[in-house]
């Protein structure tokens, strides 16, 4: 059923009897043209494969329930304020896809372009942001460098006068903002399912059948599934899943925590990041302050966080927003993230014929969901990388064509 105010009203009047399951809870078939592992970016990829490239015989397998991975546990920030040429066009493609996603999916994913503001505190930081802002402009992306008083006008509650690292200004991307995380998963699942994609939950991939260097299908907790091509998009578990195919990846798995406060009346405009501490924040439509900081810093598959990072994040919060003191932290959680060795993702084929990889999203892959899905679909369908995702090669570590936005090198916990 098409979603609209009208259909909502109609259903309200008819006791909501007519709503259908949002997506078919499919059981796996014996064989597919393409099997995608991972119900995050994988859902988006399946949707674009079906919609843009006409594939129908596709399945998305997830070991759990749809949206249980990082797509359903991130801090919902979308932006394309990147620095390096390998990244900007890709994230900008994603922004453009976000901007029309609701129409596209007929699902309100609450794309909210209320701005992303990165504060700076020193001349060197200002210049680094200028370098970034100019790089964005070169790519046609909106970017503004605000001075202190312009920042104050946007966010008068910031600690301008009594801080350890005084606020000098900020880099603003007005088109940045937030998107309702769960709705993205559900919206893609619904749209893909409507196009015939099998969305298979509770189906864990436990192995690959590889014959003569070519992938034949996947072993799963629900039996073997034959596949023409297998596409892996299992953030956080990439190393484990690819090790089933005998591959080692330039990736470590780390936990990133996020936090939400109790519901509050509107307090924070858009997204604000504190450049001299580890803190960023936005406010959800429901009123919760959604905030976070750095990753916990060591390899972990525990999907939960540790206390020092909570303290660190809250110290950062109080340093810039001292009015947060009496707001209460309601819940914290963690997600397993694929931290790659240069902080940038991988969308590429692998040395194994028919096996494709989408990984290494670090803490920034939610905003990439549409473009990642789109470019992955392009690669799967055409065999060639989409032009905006060309830099995301698996062999770049060996050749030295790194995309290291932060310049910290092969040290994943610092990206």
């Amino acid at each position: 059923m098409q979603f609209s105010a009208l259909s909502l009203a109609y259903n309200a009047l008819t006791g909501h009897r007519h709503w259908k399951p949002t997506w078919r809870d499919a059981a796996p078939k014996d064989a597919y043209d393409i099997v995608i592992i991972g119900g995050g970016h994988g859902l988006a990829a399946s949707y674009y494969l079906a919609k843009e490239f006409g594939f129908r015989n596709i399945a998305v397998l997830d070991k759990g329930w749809i949206g249980g991975g990082n797509i359903g546990r991130n801090t919902t920030i979308v932006r394309s304020n990147y620095l390096l040429p390998g990244n900007i066009p890709f994230y900008e493609l994603s922004m453009k896809l976000w901007e029309k996603l609701e129409d596209d999916l007929n699902y309100n994913t609450m794309v909210s372009q209320r701005g992303v503001l990165n504060l700076f505190h020193s001349d060197a930081q200002r210049d680094a942001y200028a370098r970034r802002g100019n790089a964005m402009r070169l790519e046609g992306v909106d970017a503004q460098l605000l001075h202190r008083e312009e920042v104050r006008a946007m966010a008068p509650f910031l600690n301008f006068d009594n801080g350890r690292f005084p606020i000098q200004g900020g880099l603003l991307q007005k088109r940045g903002g937030t998107v309702r995380h769960d709705a993205v998963a559900w919206g893609y699942a619904r749209a893909a399912s409507d196009l015939g994609v099998d969305v298979v939950q509770n189906c864990e991939v436990t192995g690959f059948r590889i014959d003569n260097g070519k992938v034949e299908g996947v072993e799963t907790s629900r039996g073997f599934i034959r596949a023409g091509k297998v596409a892996v998009a299992v953030a956080g578990n990439s190393s484990r899943v690819m090790s089933l195919a005998g591959m080692r990846l330039p990736i470590e798995t780390h936990v990133l925590q996020a936090f939400v406060s109790e519901g509050l009346k509107p307090a924070i405009p858009g997204v604000i990041t504190f450049g001299a501490g580890h803190f960023y924040i936005s406010q959800s439509d429901k009123g919760g302050l959604v905030f976070g900081g750095d990753i916990d810093g060591y390899n972990s598959y525990a999907q939960r966080g540790n206390l020092p990072v909570i303290e660190d994040v809250c110290e950062g919060g109080m340093a810039v927003m001292p009015m947060l003191g009496r707001a209460r932290l309601l819940r914290g959680w963690g997600g397993l993230m694929d931290m790659s060795m240069d902080g940038s993702p991988i969308i590429d084929r692998t040395p194994i014929d028919g096996l494709y990889l989408n990984a290494g999203w670090c803490y920034g892959g939610f905003k990439a969901t549409p473009a990642s899905g789109f470019c992955f679909a392009h690669l799967l369908a055409t065999g060639t990388p989409h032009p905006t995702a060309e830099a995301y090669r698996l062999d770049r570590f060996e050749t030295g064509h790194l995309i290291d936005e932060k310049g910290v090198g092969a040290q994943p916990n610092l990206h």
Binding site: S4, A5, S7, L8, A12, H16, W65, P85, I88, P89, D103, N108, T109, S112, D127, A130, G133, N134, A135, R137, L138, A143, N162, G163, R180, G187, E262, G263, L264, K265, P266, A276, Q283, D285, G287, A302, R304, L307, E311, C314, E315, M318, A319, P322, M323, L324, G325, R326, A327, R328, L329, L330, R331, G332, E398, G400, G407, V408, G409, A410
Partner: protein, 993 residues
């Protein structure tokens, strides 16, 4: 002050001799010491206390504890306003001011309760289905509307005026919860001599014992509890922490707890924090956090006056506050029947006892008989009526007949959920226990045991015994010999329960999650739309996501989902509880690390002198460094900096460089270690000389640079950049301890030991000569460029380096930091005759840019030695960290931007770092991007701006013009590529005699 109409004259654990005044929504009331805000409101007959999140329904208290979903207030005023505070957890104090929230214009008349009428439109997930058209209206109209009506209380938006403290504690046994089980556990462990910490979130220990009228060992249970607490208080090895909630279990037996230190005061006392965050490391813990009673879902079950039976008993027994005059008890558990006697004893009339079970223990029937309460077995409530206050209830009897009963209070009991959220904190989910129809902990966390109601034990004797057992066991596990305290005698009350989750013939809205307005219908809609996985149910309906985290709703919601989908409860599963167990103020997690104390501040020993001399300071990592020294009459910083630069170039200046990292490297293999961490050779460096070096990361990119001096065969002193001092230190330690442990070399940071000043300018030598006299020969022959020396002077050791960042004749003088202040004063005195000028980091930077030296802006982790012009410095004779990977094609690509200088074609134009380079006439696109400006400065020597930057084929393009593209500051400038050395390219000034 009005009397407290619902307060009984006697009984309860309140102190009637201490009257307290408080206000709610501006109206004044009275209460007593020992009250909570909730109990005082109940005593004053206030039943309407809040509005729900979505439909703005009128709400009263459901509970008397931290699981409260309804009774949220904005506590205090002004900057101390604290939204969403559960009135049930606030210890009453004199002068307390609270306001209801999420309503407008008033609590009684709330315009947005109109949402209630639109509720068919506002069911679960409604927003996903609409507001999509037209697109632009989302940010402009729909979203702001949603945002404004969502949210609960308001932040003050002012800085929190109170302070918070963070402390550490260690113990053998941490007991979480001081009810019957926890007290026994603490007693057992405490008597054994183990170090015990007992926390309870209540300001009074005793748990349910404070709210029940049972006897233990022949004394009223509250008195028994007080006696135990008194004994514990007397044990030196036991620490009692009331008003302290354990909120999280972290790895390694670390527990987070939050203590309300002065929340019971109008404002904290002097020097007192508002709250204290405890980080407790415990070898063992006993979770004795009790159980939380469950509501029953039926029509209008959110009407003010509908309360959990245990909460009714708490108000009646503990606070002598009657929440109503005529009550109905709706219970599916034996425990609920206890309420009858308590109500009767408090003089509350009992209109009906409704139990869906067809049969109950005869002893329960006796209770009802004694209280003259009509009993309806096999019956249920279909609807509660009354709007702002409960007026009547309709009962469907076993005979299916519907009756109306008048009542202003409903006590609901539906069995209890063990309070085991903390056992989930490592990610384990609890398991369903059919016998008690509740989830209990499955996998226990390392070191943790569970006792009492938290362990699913609901009979008091079991609770006391499991508590004592757990305490004794914990003490034994930590090496103490414990004797179980005798388990005191109690009466055996029946404790069976057969939960009734949802009255299916309910009329009106039947709430599952009270705060988030999730109804039974929403659960059904979720099921219909495929959101059947328990985590989907939660996210689609927001069930369990409110400030109470589903403590009274999650299990009920999943039970309804189980019914709807024909699955069992264990198959349906349960959502996971995550820390914090109760919401914790963000300020408490930050402690003292706020405002200027966010991070420690490092000050050099010359800081005071710099302050006295008008320095403006700038952050350099954690350090504060003088940025410049303004003089009266100077218009702006540029004028000041120009003066400082010219003073150095024409005379002599002094700059504090103490913050640069200094590492003492000693041992026979010191030179070998340096050879392996630097790209160039150091083992061949002569004693008494220094050399510039660059280090790479193992991935081949540049990491840090600096000069390293050799003081003896076995001693080098390395200097690093201020920013990378710690990184370089751990890098060296890694090289020494992990890569090459066979080397005989020792390293230690001596950054703090030495105060160091750069003395630069044509008069530098004269100045130093003035100061040191005969202590050292500074003639160019005896002390050439890159010479170093250590000598005794004025009672201390002085280190002297002839280094130059500015390109002038320059030295760095170091003395132990105790003497730093004296040194700068002496240097200034010695230079007075030359007009010596102190200069800051800004002038330092101008001069290094004039000389084309790289610094942090160039060493940004993305550049190689080759990019920065040090390609040829990379030794081919030896291995060093980063050598192999620096040879990768991507790192030696001739298309990589390379380091050069830039000057504006029109000398009046300003340059800015961060501009990108584009070929003249080329379109502004990424494809045409050739590099970027890394550093700029106004050169007072040249009279125009100069810049350093990275551009493709830079050194081959000297003289070519390009565009420095800076749209973000409207600063496009045409620039000429030039040598990065702007001043004195021959280096003659260095050798000034």
């Amino acid at each position: 002050m009005s009397p407290q109409p619902n307060r009984r004259a006697t009984g309860g654990l309140i102190d009637r001799s201490v009257s307290l005044n408080f206000s709610f929504d501006g109206k004044q009331y009275g209460g007593f010491a020992g009250d909570t805000l909730a109990s005082a409101l109940v005593a004053n007959g206030v039943t309407l206390v809040g509005r729900s999140f979505k439909y703005h329904r009128p709400r009263g208290f459901l509970t008397a504890g931290s699981e409260e979903p309804n009774g949220l207030v904005e506590l205090r005023t002004g900057a101390r306003r604290e939204p969403n505070t559960k009135a049930t957890t606030v210890e009453l104090y004199n002068g307390l001011a609270a306001m209801s929230q999420n309503r407008w214009p008033s609590l009684a008349f709330d315009i947005q309760s109109i949402n209630n009428w639109f509720s068919p439109l506002l069911g679960a997930g409604f927003y996903y289905k609409t507001f999509m058209w037209p697109g632009f209206l989302w940010e402009k109209l729909y979203e702001p509307l949603i945002r404004r009506s969502a949210g609960l209380g308001r932040l003050s938006m002012e800085s929190d005026p109170d302070s918070y403290e963070k402390v550490h504690a260690f113990c053998d046994v941490l007991v979480i919860g001081g009810g019957a089980a926890g007290l026994m556990a603490a007693l057992a462990a405490g008597r054994s001599g183990a170090r015990v910490i007992l926390c309870d979130e209540d300001f009074r220990f005793g748990g349910r014992l404070l709210s029940e009228r049972t006897e233990i060992d022949g004394t009223p249970c509250a008195e028994w509890a007080a006696n135990v607490v008194a004994e514990l208080d007397g044990l030196p090895n036991v620490t009692l922490l009331p008003s302290t909630t354990v909120f999280g279990v972290y790895d390694g037996g670390t527990y987070g707890a939050i203590e309300k230190v002065s929340d019971h005061l109008e404002t904290p006392g002097p020097g007192q924090p508002r709250q204290r965050l405890w980080k407790i490391v415990a070898k063992r813990s006993v979770l004795a956090a009790g159980a939380i009673e469950r509501p029953i879902v039926f029509g209008g079950n959110d009407t003010p006056g509908v309360m959990l039976a245990s909460a009714v008993r708490t108000y009646v027994n503990r606070y002598a506050a009657n929440p109503g005059k005529r009550a109905v008890v709706f219970t599916s558990s034996d425990d609920g029947w206890r309420t009858i006697a308590d109500l009767a004893a408090a003089g509350i009339e009992i209109a009906a006892v409704v139990d869906p079970r067809l049969q109950v223990a005869p002893s329960l029937g006796d209770i009802a008989k004694r209280a003259h309460a009509p009993v309806f077995l096999g019956a249920r409530l279909r609807e509660a009526n009354g709007g702002h206050a409960l007026a009547s209830l309709s009962i469907i009897g076993a005979d299916n007949r519907e009756r109306q009963v008048r009542a202003d209070l409903l006590a609901v009991a539906n069995g209890s959920n063990p309070n085991i959220g903390l056992t989930n904190h490592y990610g384990h989910r609890p398991v369903w226990n059919e016998e008690i129809s509740a989830f209990v902990a499955d996998v226990l966390l390392p070191g943790m045991s569970v006792a009492g109601a938290a362990a699913g034990r609901f009979a008091l004797a079991d609770i006391l015994r499991t508590g004592a057992d757990a305490g004794a066991k914990a003490a034994e596990d930590t090496g103490f010999s414990a004797t179980m305290p005798p388990v005191p005698a109690t009466t055996a009350d029946p404790v069976s329960a057969t939960p009734l989750w949802h009255v299916d013939k309910s009329r009106g809205k039947a709430f599952v999650d009270f705060q988030n307005d999730v109804t039974a219908k929403d659960v059904a809609l979720a099921a219909q739309e495929g959101f059947r996985a328990i985590e989907h149910l939660k996210r689609y309906t927001t069930l369990g996501m409110a400030t109470d985290q589903g403590k009274t709703s999650s299990v009920t919601g999943l039970a309804i989902m189980a019914e709807l989908t024909g699955r069992s409860i264990p198959v349906t599963g349960v959502t996971i509880a995550r820390p914090p167990h109760v919401p914790v103020a963000i300020g408490a997690f930050a402690g003292i690390h706020t405002g200027p104390h966010f991070k420690p501040t490092r000050l050099t020993s010359g800081h005071r002198w710099a302050e006295e001399n008008g320095a403006s300071f700038v952050e350099a990592g954690q350090w504060l460094r003088p940025q410049w020294f303004s003089r009266p009459g100077e218009m702006d910083w540029l004028e000041t900096v120009n003066r400082e630069v010219l003073a150095v170039r024409n005379g002599v200046g002094i700059c504090d460089v103490s913050t640069l990292g200094k590492i003492d490297i000693q041992g026979p293999d010191a030179g070998i270690l340096l050879d392996r961490v630097y790209i160039n050779m150091f083992s061949t460096l002569a004693v008494g000389r220094a050399r510039y070096g660059m280090m790479l990361r193992e991935d081949g990119f540049a990491m840090d640079d600096g000069t390293t001096a050799r003081f003896s065969e076995t001693r080098y002193v390395m200097s690093t950049t201020t920013a990378n001092a710690a990184k370089a230190m751990s890098h060296l330690e890694f090289a020494r301890q992990v890569l090459w442990p066979e080397l005989d070399v020792q390293t230690v940071s001596i950054t703090e030991q030495w105060a160091q000043y750069a003395v630069a300018g044509p008069n530098a030598r004269k100045l130093l000569q003035n100061l040191f006299g005969l202590a050292i020969d500074l003639s160019p022959e005896a002390f050439p460029y890159m010479g170093v020396a250590e000598f005794e002077f004025g009672g201390t050791t002085v280190r002297l380096f002839r280094l130059s960042f500015s390109g002038e004749l320059a030295y760095e003088v170091a003395v132990p930091a105790h003497y730093g202040d004296a040194l700068i004063r002496r240097l200034m005195a010695a230079g007075a005759e030359f007009g010596v000028t102190p200069y800051g980091t800004e002038a330092l930077s101008v001069m290094r840019i004039e000389k084309g030296h790289v610094a942090g802006n160039e060493l940004n982790g993305q550049t190689t030695a080759g990019d920065l012009g040090f390609g040829r410095m990379m030794s081919k004779k030896k291995d060093f960290i980063g050598r192999t990977l620096a040879a990768r094609p991507g790192l030696v690509d001739p298309e990589r931007p390379v380091f050069v200088g830039f000057k504006p074609v029109d000398p009046s134009r300003r340059l800015r770092a961060g501009a990108h380079f584009l070929g003249l006439g080329k379109a502004a696109t990424t494809a045409n991007d050739e590099g970027y400006m890394t550093s700029v400065a106004y050169s007072p020597n040249l009279g125009h701006w100069i810049g350093l930057g990275l551009i493709k084929h830079g050194p081959e393009r000297l003289g070519e013009r390009v565009r420095a593209y800076d749209p973000i500051r409207n600063g496009d400038v045409e620039v000429e590529i030039c040598s990065p050395v702007f001043v004195d390219p021959e280096g003659a000034r260095l050798q000034h005699v």
